[in-house]
């Protein structure tokens, strides 16, 4: 028993390790977290998948053996105890019990005693002793001891059921070198039988990713740092995958319409599965486990934020890579994900509210040396603080949060307004004209050197156009002493704003007939545009991908489970509950009465194998009842 408890402690400790160290992550992430040295030690110990580790299964097997031995040793004794009445007792031994009493009687009616015993649920046996004295040996609650057998058998049955489902067959095959785990992406056809598990595989939990309209005949079994192919007795086709939403926007259900075709009989089952509603075919249960994009088609416009040219159209798909040339350099654009619904917490007045902000897509722009910047861009302008912005986030490493560029949308909810704004403020002619006007308005009476003033304003504007606000900051750091920096910075920002405003005003005056012109001359649009222009210098290459249209294709992630141990685990569980109930709530009580004919004396004794508080009360009550019938 000590051995078993030690094993149980091991299971507990191993389990804790398994919860602290995230299990079944990609090996790379362990390597980054732990470093080379510890990574290897942890790998040898099997800590990346504790519960399937060789030593963990070994402990379980030891547990089964040790508990079985325990049951084997104790059961015969318990069963004979259960059957037998202990009728070979001596008065002396009875008197050593805590509840033993000597009573005297006048009339002793055996039938009334037996009545009391039966009423109190005792079973009893009467034995005539040598002198005609009588011994009643009675007992109740013998089931308590059966509780011991039930609980221990339950642990054995549950553990065996668990081992059935623990991939044992594959473990043995792998350790004998019969099976190879695939680590790289290899086309399915090229995978040979050493990396395939046959249909007859005893138990598994495999995955299958199915795009809408696709049909597959095998599943993927994740193992260590790679995977294997699990053959199936049927093929599965995905007709449709749906996400339903609550009126509040949160997902309500994930559903897949499946066609499951038996390979042998050709019989087709059409069924819709969803979370909590799996489908079982041929002993294999098919679950809705997750979903992702299945290669949605995207129609894009690529805008160069730093040129005056119009967009370049681009068509692509998720999981495809497109070429892009910028500034004579080649880039790869890798489209990774598309999401049709994005439920975000949006500030609505004072309250935060969940709202669907529409589709977005995620892509990486990779340069020739392999460095990539990741982008997340929303299709529709998002309303932030009352203004609509095109939002696009970028980050250089997956650990970072996305940093967003916010480009104000024009009156038609298009990018055009901003781009027009950009082309105007970068036109030297417009800038120069507007600077003159600003100077005229701000310095009407003062006698200052207008040329000097103009040069310094031009310098500020040009710095801004070259590199945004951070360039202005550099300028200030170089030329101005610290105490004055803030004041100067504010005035520079104001000048940039005034000049920009003047440019727009000018343009509007000069192009009065242009009624298609949607450039907004409100100060918030100008300020937002200036901010966006400044941020565009920190956007990687300044190419903005605008999503024009899309065809949404989803993929459903299925899990396929074959679990022959399940029924055993359930049977074991029922036994466990019964056993615990017997052990705790049934009290094994023994009672003896020796009736001496000559002396008219009675020895009454009662005992239990577990001293509970209630027992004392029960013993005294029983004694008093007996007392009451013998007087």
């Amino acid at each position: 028993m000590r051995f078993a408890i030690t094993m149980f402690s091991f299971v507990a400790i191993a389990s804790i390790i398994g919860t602290v160290l995230k299990q079944n992550e990609p090996y790379e992430s362990y390597l980054i977290k732990l470093g080379q040295f510890w990574f290897e030690i942890f790998e040898i110990l099997g800590l990346y998948n504790v519960y399937q580790a060789f030593w963990f299964l070994l402990i379980l097997i030891f547990l089964i053996i040790s508990t079985s031995l325990c049951v084997y040793r104790n059961t015969p004794k318990i069963i004979s105890d259960y059957r037998k009445f202990q009728d070979k007792v001596q008065e002396k031994s009875l008197l050593s019990f805590k509840h033993s009493y000597k009573l005297t009687y006048k009339n002793f009616d055996n039938s009334r005693l037996e009545e009391i015993l039966l009423k109190n649920k005792f079973r009893f046996k009467k034995k005539i002793l040598r002198n005609g004295d009588e011994l009643y040996s009675a007992k109740r609650g013998e089931f308590q001891k059966l509780g011991y057998i039930f609980t221990h058998l339950a642990i054995i049955v549950i553990s065996i059921g668990g081992l059935f489902d623990g991939n044992l067959v594959f473990k043995v095959q792998e350790s004998l070198g019969l099976k190879n785990i695939i680590i790289d992406d290899i086309p399915l056809k090229e995978i040979d039988s050493s990396s395939r598990l046959s249909e007859s595989n005893f138990s598994y939990r495999a995955q299958m990713l199915l795009a809408e309209g696709e049909k597959q005949e095998v599943a993927v079994l994740r193992a260590k740092e790679g995977y294997l192919i699990q053959e199936l007795p049927f093929s599965i086709a995905l007709k449709d995958f749906r996400i339903k939403h609550y009126s509040t926007g949160q997902p309500k259900s994930f559903e897949s319409d499946l066609l499951v075709e038996d390979k042998k009989t050709g019989k087709v089952i059409a069924e819709t599965i969803s979370v909590n509603k799996p489908l079982t075919v041929n002993g294999i249960t098919i679950y809705q486990s997750d979903f992702q994009d299945g290669g949605s088609k995207l129609g894009l416009r690529v805008w160069d934020l730093h040129s005056n040219q119009s967009f370049v159209p681009m068509a692509s798909e998720i999981f495809k890579t497109n070429k892009l040339v910028y500034d004579d350099q080649n880039f790869n654009v890798e489209f990774n994900d598309f999401r049709k619904f994005n439920i975000l917490e949006i500030e609505d007045g004072k309250k935060k509210k969940l709202k669907n902000v529409g589709p977005n897509f995620i892509y990486k722009i990779r340069n020739e040396s392999g460095q990539a910047v990741e982008y997340q861009t929303y299709q529709f302008p998002m309303i932030v603080g009352g203004t609509s912005f095109f939002m696009s986030g970028m980050r250089s490493t997956p650990q970072d949060e996305f940093r967003y560029i916010k480009i104000p949308a024009d009156a038609n909810r298009e990018l055009t307004g901003f781009l027009k704004f950009r082309s105007l403020i970068t036109s030297p002619k417009q800038v120069s004209k507007s600077i003159d006007k600003v100077i005229k308005e701000t310095s009407s009476n003062k006698a200052i050197d207008i040329n000097l003033f103009k040069t310094s304003i031009s310098k500020v504007i040009n710095s801004f156009l070259e590199g945004g606000y951070s360039q202005i900051a550099n300028l200030i750091d170089q030329d101005i002493t610290v105490p004055k920096q803030e004041e100067i910075a504010n005035s520079y920002i104001k000048i940039i704003f005034l000049v920009s405003k003047e440019i727009i005003k000018n343009y509007k005056v000069e192009n009065k007939d242009d009624d298609s012109f949607i450039l907004d001359d409100s100060s918030s649009f100008i300020q937002d545009s200036l901010n966006a222009y400044s941020d565009s210098f920190f956007y990687g290459i300044p190419m903005f991908f605008e999503l024009k249209d899309y065809q949404h294709i989803q993929a459903s992630g299925l899990q396929l489970t074959k679990s022959p141990g399940q029924v055993w685990v359930y049977i074991g569980s029922i036994m466990l509950v019964l056993g615990i109930f017997c052990m705790i709530y049934i009290q094994d009580v023994r009672l003896w009465i020796i009736k001496y004919k000559k002396t008219k004396k009675i020895v009454f004794a009662m005992t239990t194998n577990r001293q509970h508080y209630d027992f004392d009360k029960f013993a005294l009550e029983t004694r008093d009842k007996i007392k009451s019938i013998i007087n």
């Binding site: 399940q566 466990l576 615990i580 509970h612 508080y613």
Partner: protein
Amino acid sequence: MNKYIDKFLLHGLALTLSLLSVFAIFKFHDYMDNYEIGILVGATILFSWLGKTWLNFGRFFIASLILSFISIYIYQGNLMQAENNFFLKYFLSSQSAIMWMSALFPLSLIIYWISLFSKQTFYENLASALVWIAALMGLLGLLVRWFESYLISIDIGHIPISNLYEVFVLFCLITSLMYLYYEQKMNTKKMGPFVLIIISAAVAFLLWYTFNKGADEIQPLVPALQSYWMKIHVPANFIGYGAFAIAAMISVAYLLVDNGILKKQLPNLTVLDDMTYKVVSIGFIFFTIATILGAVWAAEAWGGYWSWDPKETWALIVWLNYAAWLHLRLIKGLRGTMLAWWAIIGLVITTFAFLGVNLFLSGLHSYGEL
């Protein structure tokens, strides 16, 4: 007079519940599957039986039913009534009922401590009555919240035991009721000062969670929780958690008495020891059942009865801990200080399984995130 009322209660509760269930099945069977009808019938039998064997519970349950029907009546199918109607705003909406509960539990804690040093039985009776009322407000809060969730939208409606806020109310409710049962059964109110500490701590968390995180808002169910299993798995688990919490608090009392502190005021060691054992036993049985039901549910929702998800694994650790506790007590006859300390440590482990896993470890059980 009281006799007649009790006589009515004895049969009246079972009758009322049966009539309500039959009505519900006839009127709403389109919205229920067979399992849910089964659970409704089971619950009817369970609560009728509880009310019959434990009369105070019967009274309590009838009172909560009457109050929640009044609340439902005042709502008139309009959620905005919670702001406009005086009774809803201050007493009968789920939010106010839960606030009353949150006020009354700490109050009864204080009065229990006063009663410990007072010779009059008035204080302990008052404290005990306050616990009953607090529990009543807690149950009322949950029942009305259940109704309110349907008022938001018919597809959002669900039993309010689906997130951390709701299960904390459930914890307070179940723990207090279990305590009240033992208070009556063991015929002593001296354990109240200790048990109410843990309940008040849960209330403190609940209040922090409400006011700092706005957790009281009713959220729709995520797909993984849309199952009749939730109605059985969660309450069973919380009977386990509640029992382990009570066991730990009584063990604190045990250790104090063992060291001669409050010896005059508290029950003797035998009573404390016995009660710890009883509570651990009932908790262990329910925790076992809850874990098994969880496994059965997992086999339906996650694709396997056991995934070594952190929550599952910690449930196993909790189970092994109390299995060892009971094993030592029942088989080896161990008792006393060591088991008392062990029960307290057990609560630390249980708390980690309940809260710590949600805070520090990520896994499939991510419904109760902070």
